[in-house]
């Protein structure tokens, strides 16, 4: 399968962002394990990692945002296709366009609101409880995944539009195997 440059860029970006999210998740695992060990060894003078709850939230939050574009690109979201399978390919092609347009709208909405949320947190100077980490940091980290999500959604909409207009069979999967 030959990839055009746009496709290569978008899928590569989604993949790397998802891997970055996965590494954040792995880092969270390591952090938790160390914290639990430290807590178990309090009698030996060790202790839990200060602010472990906050760090877990920040790490997992970044990861989930980073996973969104990958799931959309690979058509990983849960769908019910039993009824639409009975309809013809043209109907399904245009349905895909509607779906992708709705997903793009939601991706833009989430990203736009998240950015405003980040600005609020910056303006109010809110921090986490123990580490006093500025909250706008994790909001902004989430934006990395969110912006990628918008790019992927726009790209997929373009693909499904051209598929529907030209009557080509969609190359992307028919939906999730979840």
């Amino acid at each position: 399968m030959s990839l055009n440059p746009v496709e290569r860029f978008v899928s590569g970006l989604a993949r790397y962002v998802a891997i970055a999210g996965g590494l954040a998740l792995v880092a969270t695992v390591i952090l938790i394990v160390l914290s639990v060990i430290g807590r178990a060894l309090i009698p030996l003078g060790l202790g839990a990692i200060t602010g472990d709850y906050e760090l877990v939230e920040a790490g997992v939050g970044f990861a989930v945002f980073a996973f969104l574009p990958w799931a959309h690109l690979t058509r990983g979201h849960a769908v019910v296709s039993i009824f639409t399978d009975m309809a013809g390919p043209r109907f399904n092609a245009w349905l895909m366009v509607v779906c992708d347009a709705l997903m793009l709208a939601v991706a833009v909405f989430i990203t736009w609101r998240q950015a405003l949320g980040a600005m609020d947190k910056f303006a109010y100077g809110e921090t986490t409880l123990l580490l006093r980490m500025p909250l706008w940091w994790s909001y902004t980290a989430g934006l990395i995944g969110a912006v990628t999500f918008v790019l992927v959604a726009a790209y997929l909409l373009a693909v499904s539009l051209s598929d529907a207009a030209t009557g080509r069979q969609p190359q992307a999967g028919q939906g999730a195997v979840h």
């Binding site: 807590r39 309090i42 839990a48 200060t50 809110e126 986490t128 123990l130 006093r132």
Partner: protein, 319 residues
């Protein structure tokens, strides 16, 4: 014209403040308005979001009115935070009135964008622990849940391991040994079954308790501005110092109920004597000094605010 106002908060409907303060407050306003103001009460975050987002929900108009813990958004209310300083609190009633007056005089800018109905505090928070805390040293290495950043800072200076977790998680964490104890006022202990889970409770001699937390009962500014003048007047008549006093009194009544349950269970209720209490106050002083330094960094005269808070609390407590 009739208005319906949505009130959102994080506790279940039967908890002390929702049941004994917010619901009666709403009923009084409805009645005084001849039914022209109606309230819909949404307990337990039913309208969505996490508790720290409550204040913004009122500010941004997601809902009309919210009740929240100001400490859930650390860093956002630096001037109000002075009331979380150790050994500043007396009773819920006196401290709430003092806090309301303090905020009106010094910290209204922190509430820009919302209409303040009342702010208040709870009664003195104390230690509830598996193993007894009879002296400062007993706290060493104990995993203690603290509710705000000031409390957490103080706990680590006192030698404990502060664990930050939301109030509803305390019951399971205590029963599972994830924490060895928690700092909360008596008022919260019945709903969290704390007196069943731990057998030791440590408070202090004298008028002053260990700490308190601050709460806001606030309204979206547009929701308030859009009321006709006569309805605004009814909200105003149910705002301010007397409303703060009512919330504080409800907290004090809750404290009495919680204490009675622990006594009924035959728990070990420790009151540290004057000498030991003085040691704790000395050990907590660096937390206050650190707060002064933090405030200096933000261009706020923390010491002056602290002294004003002290004198307001003393005056309201007739000390």
């Amino acid at each position: 014209r009739e208005v319906t106002l949505r009130i959102h908060q994080m506790l279940p409907a039967q908890a002390t403040i929702p049941a004994d303060a917010i619901t009666p407050w709403a009923a009084a306003v409805e009645e005084q308005s001849g039914g022209r103001i109606k309230f819909e009460l949404y307990p337990a975050m039913q309208l969505g979001g996490a508790p720290p987002s409550l204040f913004d929900q009122a500010k941004d108009g997601v809902v009309d009115i919210i009740w929240t813990v100001l400490g859930y958004t650390p860093g956002r209310f630096p001037k109000s935070e002075v009331f979380e300083m150790p050994f500043l609190v007396t009773t819920g009633e006196a401290t709430s009135v003092a806090f309301q007056k303090y905020v009106e005089a010094n910290a209204m800018d922190e509430f820009a964008g919302v209409h303040v109905i009342a702010v208040h505090t709870h009664g003195p928070g104390l230690f509830h622990t598996k193993d007894p805390v009879n002296k400062l040293e007993d706290l060493a290495g104990m995993k203690i849940r603290g509710g705000s950043r000031v409390i957490s800072d103080m706990l680590s200076r006192l030698g404990a391991e502060p664990i930050g977790m939301p109030v509803p998680a305390v019951t399971e964490a205590l029963s599972k040994g994830v924490i060895d104890g928690t700092t909360i006022p008596w008022e919260v202990t019945p709903s969290l079954k704390v007196a069943e889970l731990v057998k030791n409770h440590t408070g202090f001699t004298g008028e002053y308790g260990l700490y308190t937390q601050t709460f806001g009962f606030v309204m979206n500014q547009d929701s308030y501005n859009n009321l006709p003048d006569d309805l605004k007047a009814i909200i105003d008549a149910n705002s301010g110092v007397e409303t703060a006093r009512m919330f504080g009194k409800v907290m004090d009544a809750g404290d009495a109920g919680g204490l009675a349950i622990a006594e009924g269970l035959g728990n070990n209720i420790i009151t540290l004597d004057a000498v030991e209490t003085a040691r704790w106050k000395a050990a907590a002083q660096p937390t206050i000094d650190q707060w002064f330094a933090d405030m200096d960094g933000q261009g706020i005269d923390g010491r002056a605010l602290y002294e004003e808070a002290q004198s307001l609390v003393a005056a309201e407590s007739s000390l």
